[in-house]
């Protein structure tokens, strides 16, 4: 076969000439420059935005932080905006940490079980339905969940869970009563339960992503050793996915820490320690949303800003921890070849 000069592998002469044409000035200079400038500016503005928020929060809160010192502020147990004008954020820090961690502990295993079920066991149509329902939970505005909590969950929990436990403790273990607290329905326990419901979608979705990204070779290798379906999951899937699962859990914790509306509606809003299991409490977001309108004193407003700043720092730490743990526990490459 002889090759015609005009129709070589690159097709016609015309096509060849177009391919050899030097790139236009616009293409080489302007387009590239503009694109680079836009991208860099947008990227930098995100950093600036985050830094600016931190700076403003710190600046506005600095009056309170100066007055009590940062450590004194986060460890102070008295929050009295009315008489003494003393502000210590420890009750809210405590409430935030306890409700979020407890919510994560409650939701973690169910969420992982749901993820395993939808990723590995459920037929496709059922998995699709469950996935959509879970996403729906994430899409419901938290104020709606809050109002459901106020009118449905809290009374139900009070009548069917808290009161029976309380009366049992009253009769046989009176020493437990201060720990249990007043079972009015609005308190730490209800807020924690609602929080755990609200973070299930995040843990589930991220766990499912992690499970789905386990290479099929890993599954087949364990199958070929005679593993049953569950053994494949235990031996090959979950260990491989552990980084993603851990990241999902920590990011869910971040969601729980920052959740405001539903918690403020359900936690009972009591600003003084001691908190009890059924009794009222408060978290950092809930105290901010409850008091910012009434904060007439400069120091009060500044203290709320300082609470916001503390929350910002905690969120930052949680996200950094998630990034670090993901990197540490993720499988890099897995099969090195």
């Amino acid at each position: 076969m002889t090759l015609d000069n005009d129709t070589s592998i690159n097709g016609s002469k015309e096509a060849r000439e177009l391919l050899r044409r030097p790139p236009s000035a616009l293409y080489r200079w302007l387009g590239d420059r503009i694109f680079a400038v836009v991208v860099v500016m947008l990227g930098v503005s995100i950093i600036a935005l985050a830094a600016g928020m931190a700076i403003v929060l710190y600046g506005e809160g600095s009056a309170a932080l100066r007055q009590f010192g940062f450590l004194g502020f986060v460890s102070g147990t008295t929050w009295d905006p009315a008489v003494q004008l003393v502000f210590g954020a420890f009750p809210f820090l405590f409430g935030t940490v306890v409700t979020s961690v407890a919510a994560l502990l409650i939701s973690f295993f169910p969420a992982i079980a749901v993820a395993i079920f939808t990723a590995e066991y459920a037929p496709r149509w059922l998995a699709a339905i469950i996935d959509n329902l879970i996403q729906l939970i994430a899409a419901v505005p938290s104020v709606v969940i809050g109002i459901w909590g106020i009118f449905v969950l809290a009374p139900w929990m009070r009548d069917n869970v808290y009161l029976p436990i309380f009366t049992w403790a009253e009769a046989s273990h009176p020493a437990l009563l201060p720990i249990l607290g007043n079972p009015m329905g609005y308190g730490m326990a209800t807020a924690t339960i609602v929080l755990s419901l609200m973070i299930v979608p995040y843990t589930t979705a991220l766990t499912k992503d992690a499970i789905k990204s386990v290479p099929v070779e890993q599954r087949e290798a364990s199958r070929a050793l005679g593993a049953t379906k569950w053994e494949v999951i235990r031996m090959a899937v979950l260990p491989y996915a552990r980084g993603g699962i851990l990241a999902g859990a920590i990011l869910s914790l971040g969601r729980a820490i920052g959740e405001t509306m539903a918690v403020a509606m359900l936690i009972g809003n009591k600003n003084t320690l001691p908190f009890s299991i059924f009794g009222a409490g408060a978290t950092m977001p809930s105290v901010i949303v409850n008091e910012f309108r009434e904060a007439v004193e400069t120091l009060h407003l500044s203290s709320l800003m300082a609470v916001g700043f503390t929350l910002f720092v905690i969120a930052l730490i949680v996200n950094l921890a998630a990034a670090y743990l993901t990197r540490k526990f993720s499988i890099k490459g897995g099969q090195v070849v």
Binding site: E217, G226, M235, Q335
Partner: protein, 299 residues
């Protein structure tokens, strides 16, 4: 079984079995476990008994046909090589031999696969048990990355509930020796399996498959992701292993098929075109397509 003994007892008799063709000259000179003892295909001893057999085996994926009506015998303690161009059903056929298609959505297997006279697709047969008897090594090395070398090797034993440390230790050492990996890793059994090189990882995968003492070993292009030196080691290993297990190997590399196998089957577009002793298939193929393929005219 004691591998070292079986090798040393074989060494003096080696020249009797070795043929000049299709073998590396170095094989007989070395005495270490990793070298081939090079029993020539079908020469020097009586034909082994049949271990597995497929009858009219077909695999469909949805509406497309992966493999069509393949009937093949697989002889005990021999190596059967499956060759052919990409996408012609070799791997599909191989995976039907230990019911790996059970896991693929939409895959359907018809016909029968007999293991010691029993159809492994019978409804009362548990595929988990079948996969313990018929081990598999994949194209990519697949160590479990979160497990140590030791835990990787004994993973299959732990699945059946063996927890006794001394049993695990013994099997681990035996399997690693069989896979010619023991000397390289004996001092670091607790480091992660993924810390090994690619060739070592593949031998680790082989050791892991051997640890559960399978009767048949399926290998799906076990050297395609490895460098030539690691490939040589695995090929030597196959020569050793076939004294104890029956091996079916898929390979793209015809020289490899010629070097390691006793029987060869040539697949083309889902059909078994030709099957026969490796020597005769490569020297005087009966089918025109086989000849074209092995002489490099297509594929």
């Amino acid at each position: 079984m004691n591998l070292i003994q079986s090798i040393t007892s074989k060494v003096p008799t080696l020249p009797l079995f070795a043929t000049s063709e299709s073998r590396q000259a170095s094989g007989a000179a070395e005495v270490k476990t990793s070298t081939g003892t090079n029993t020539a295909p079908g020469t020097g001893k009586a034909e082994n008994k049949m271990r597995m057999e497929t009858h009219d085996l077909s695999v469909h994926y949805g509406s497309t046909m992966g493999v069509r009506n393949v009937s093949l015998p697989i002889y005990d303690k021999q190596v059967l090589a499956l060759i052919g161009p990409s996408g012609c059903g070799k791997t599909t056929y191989l995976r039907a031999l230990n019911r790996m298609h059970d896991l693929t959505r939409g895959a359907r297997v018809t016909g029968s696969v007999m293991l010691d006279g029993k159809n492994i697709y019978d409804s009362e047969i548990n595929p988990v048990i079948i996969r313990r008897r018929i081990g598999m090594v994949f194209q990519k090395p697949t160590p479990f990355p979160t497990m140590s070398i030791y835990d990787n090797v004994v993973a299959g034993l732990k699945l059946v509930g063996i927890r006794k440390r001394n049993v695990l230790d013994e099997v681990c050492e035996r399997a690693l020796k069989q896979a010619a990996l023991f000397d390289e890793v004996k001092d670091r059994l607790n480091s992660p399996g993924s810390s090994l090189s690619g060739g070592q990882q593949q031998r680790l995968s082989i050791a892991r498959a051997l640890a559960v003492d399978p009767e048949v070993m399926l290998m799906d292009e076990p050297t395609s992701s490895l460098d030539p030196q690691s490939t040589n080691r695995i090929e030597d290993l196959i020569h050793e292993l076939k004294k104890q297990v029956t091996i079916v190997i898929v390979t793209h590399n015809m020289q490899q098929a010629a070097r390691v196998s006793d029987k060869t089957a040539f697949f083309y577009v889902g059909d078994l075109i030709e099957y026969g002793p490796t020597n005769s298939l490569f020297t005087k193929p009966k089918e025109k397509r086989t000849e074209e393929y092995i002489t490099g005219q297509f594929g």
